[in-house]
């Protein structure tokens, strides 16, 4: 207990001054921020990729129509305001006036229409699915865009961020092969706070302040530099040496967080990104996992608290339901896996006996193969804990760590596994990130539902929730579906993750958006000038 108190005191000691200072201080101008990324971005076109490197760089030069605030509510970015019709079949965006592309051309509704129809609907790996519901995109005047839907699609507005739907310049992309356009790899033109500087391949990418940015007076910083630092431990060392000022959660070695919190030159911020989860999928097409009693028993026999502490260093909480507790409006508090499936080996053993899987002469009931991506931080430790936990149930686990590509092949394409551990992002909305793990999926597509579980009621409720324009109706469907999943348990949520970023203590104004890609125009450096 004293340790916990001490820890909390330390956490507040490092965080509190930074926050109060940020509130009371006046932003200063100038300075450079160097942020670490793990590899060369495969493209600088944010509208055709979900790559973290690409978005981390490109979203400083491009904008979406909206950004998400800390509570995941859409706020004005390139769109000044919007109205959604009552039936959800029409969204009208009113665009910011006086926005210029970095080459001086005026930004208009034609750019938005072109990007939506010709780029996002065709090439964006994730947002492409949202546009299946779109009937047409109209641009009645230069500052208005109207999206008409065949079928209402509730998360659409939340997907209009730079991460999911960055707007491209029509005058540079129209009539070209979008994926091979030279602007994707050199001198991209956006509307964002920073403009293209230069790219020393494999080393760094430099971006400079956009003096014509549509938000007057912003950005505060003069330069943004993405430093390519491939090795994760070396990345942390570069941060400590002062070569790098910021590491986003995706690139941060989580076992270093506790140590970095003690460093007075750094600030550590938790909860910096849309929530993600670690899932344990059961292949329900294989015996004995076709029996939900067995799945429940295995859930009861899994010490998820131990996984939280040892595999992800306490960064998160034990999963409570199919819907991440961070999605407060959609999470059903009546469903709580920490009570339903609280770690209890004897109860688990009893359930397995009851299901008819008695121990053999050697004490073993059955064998399972557990497949996971060995390169994904946290999973190797979770796999070992599961093997250890289930041994006590008489379940022999053969742990099969494989490379990422092999995971895709074995788990999703061939379903050649019994149990697998997978990290999933919720993408901030159950319709985008959560439904895919539970709805019926007969083909072997990556990062969908690999379990063979199929429940028409579940499919129906997720479908209803995705199209209901009113959040209360969506909530009802999600509340209902969580109860069914808690009982059927095709997958067990092991951990609701929280993300952690680290930055130099001299930077302010960070983390104003729920996504790590937006609002870099407001970041400032305490060593800067009083005026520009």
């Amino acid at each position: 207990m004293t340790r916990l108190v001490l820890f909390l005191v330390l956490v507040f000691a490092t965080l509190a001054p930074a926050q109060t200072a940020a509130q009371s201080e006046t932003p200063r101008h100038g300075g450079t921020m160097v942020f670490a990324i793990g590899a060369n971005p495969e493209t600088l076109n944010p509208a055709v990729t979900t790559g973290v490197e690409a978005l981390g760089v490109a979203c400083k030069m491009f904008n979406g129509l909206v950004y998400l605030d800390r509570d995941w509510n859409p706020q004005p970015e390139l769109a000044r305001s919007w109205t959604v019709s009552k039936d959800g079949l029409r969204i009208a965006f009113s665009l910011q006036p006086n926005v210029k592309w970095h080459d001086g051309q005026a930004f208009s509704s034609a750019d938005v229409k072109f990007t939506m129809e010709e780029v996002l609907a065709k090439f964006h790996p994730r947002t492409r699915l949202a546009f299946v519901n779109v009937e047409a995109v109209d641009a009645p005047d230069p500052l208005t865009v109207v999206v008409r839907f065949k079928k209402a699609y509730a998360p659409f507005l939340h997907q209009m961020t730079c991460q999911e739907a960055a707007i491209l310049p029509r005058h540079l992309y129209q009539g070209t092969d979008v994926l091979k356009n030279p602007r994707n790899s050199d001198a991209p033109i956006g509307t964002g706070p920073f403009k293209w500087g230069r790219w020393v391949r494999g080393d760094f990418i430099e971006m400079v302040r956009n003096d014509q940015y549509f938000r007057p007076g912003l950005p505060y910083l003069d330069k943004m530099i993405a430093k390519i630092t491939p090795d994760a431990p070396a990345r942390v060392l570069a941060l400590e040496a002062g070569d790098v000022d910021y590491i986003q959660s995706f690139f941060l070695l989580k076992q270093e967080v506790a140590r970095l919190r003690q460093n007075a030159n750094l600030q550590v911020k938790q909860d910096t990104d849309l929530p993600g989860v670690f899932l344990l999928f059961f292949n329900t097409q294989r015996k004995p996992l076709d029996d939900k009693g067995v799945r429940q028993a295995l859930a009861l026999g899994t010490n998820r608290q131990q996984m939280l502490e040892q595999a992800v260093f306490g960064l998160g909480s034990v999963g409570k339901s199919a819907i991440h507790t961070g999605l407060r409006w959609a999470y059903n508090p009546a469903v709580d896996y920490t009570k339903l499936y609280a770690y209890n080996a004897s109860k688990a053993n009893a359930l397995l006996d009851q299901a008819g899987y008695r121990r053999g002469a050697d004490g073993t009931r059955f064998k399972l193969r557990l497949v996971y991506n060995v390169a994904q931080a946290g999973l190797p430790a979770m796999a070992e804990i599961a093997r250890d936990n289930w041994k006590a149930l008489g379940v022999e686990v053969s742990v099969e760590p494989v490379e990422f590509q092999v995971t895709l092949d074995r788990v999703f394409a061939k379903r050649d596994y019994e149990v697998t551990l997978q990290p999933y992002t919720t993408a901030g909305d159950p319709a985008i990130g959560i439904a895919r793990a539970y709805v019926t999926m007969n083909e072997g597509r990556p990062f969908t539902n690999p379990t063979g579980y199929s429940n028409p009621k579940v499919d129906d409720l997720f479908a209803q929730a995705a199209v209901a324009p009113v959040r209360d109706d969506r909530r009802k469907a999600y509340f209902e579906v969580q109860k069914i999943i808690a009982e059927d348990l095709p997958a067990l949520v092991l951990i609701d993750r929280t993300e952690v970023d680290v930055a130099g203590a001299k930077f302010r104004g960070l983390w104003q958006s729920a996504e790590p890609y937006d609002l870099w125009d407001r970041v400032w450096w305490t060593g800067g000038r009083a005026s520009r």
Binding site: T50, L179, V244, F404
Partner: protein, 322 residues
Amino acid sequence: MARYALVRLLQIPPVLLGLVTVIWLVVRLAPGDPVLALVGDFPAPDEYVKRIREEFGLDRSLPEQFFRYVTAVARGDLGFSFVFRRPVLGLVLERAGATALLTVTALLFASLAGVAVGVLSARRPFSWVDGLISGGSVVGFSVPVFWLGQLLILLFAVTLGWLPAQGMVSVRENPEGWARIRDIALHLVLPAAALSLRFLAMTARLARASMLEVLGRDYIRTAQAKGASGARVLIGHALPNAALPVLTLVGYNLGFVLAGSALVETVFGWPGIGRLLYDSVFARDFPVLLGIMIVVSLTVVLANLVTDLLYAYVDPRIRYRA
């Protein structure tokens, strides 16, 4: 000599064809789908996957893909990267300079310092200096390069703050002219040291053994009897003969240094082809993977040729009969 060189040159194309075939097969038979790697961690629509497959010719049969690849390579076309969507040759060439700088520096340092250390060690065999050097060589030979790299960063960049931790130039300042050369040299110290240690140790061991053998020869005794100084005997008489095996080792080492540079480049964020190779493996970016392997194999084959020719030139006893 000229004929020998010609025969050796003619051997290169079949060697390369064999290499390309083996590498192509190994790469393509490994599990994993580049299209899946490309579409990311979300379900992709079928028509999207289909279009990408067609775009990169992945919908054709394997023999057809192989034939198209080999004929393209013969024309000097290394193909088009799935991930970067740019021609492979450009991708490789823009990184080759950094890798060349790192590997040549490391190899040069390892060879010169290795010979010096080996000579020092052989001067008084089984003395404490020799023992220290021999022990050090074993450590230097066995220490994992990525771990050594991190220790070097921790000591010289984080704790002492003498040298930069990452990359090839300082990104905050943008030095020009001499300042830039100095900046690159400072960035080069740690990765080159990490990369060279293993080869320095190997060279030192070989140079020591070779020196000891030469020092036992009659002509050395004659030189000593004629009153030549210790240093003159060592440097003027023994070293030229003892250095011959070391020369072979340098050519032989080049391949290993290039392979080792992948790890060193990763740890130090050095913008060379090593890291590109590593990323292409995980992305199943076949054209880049194959392109790098071909360029590297060609370099190694050529380096070995040059070493052999040099060897024949330096050692008058060896005039190969082709």
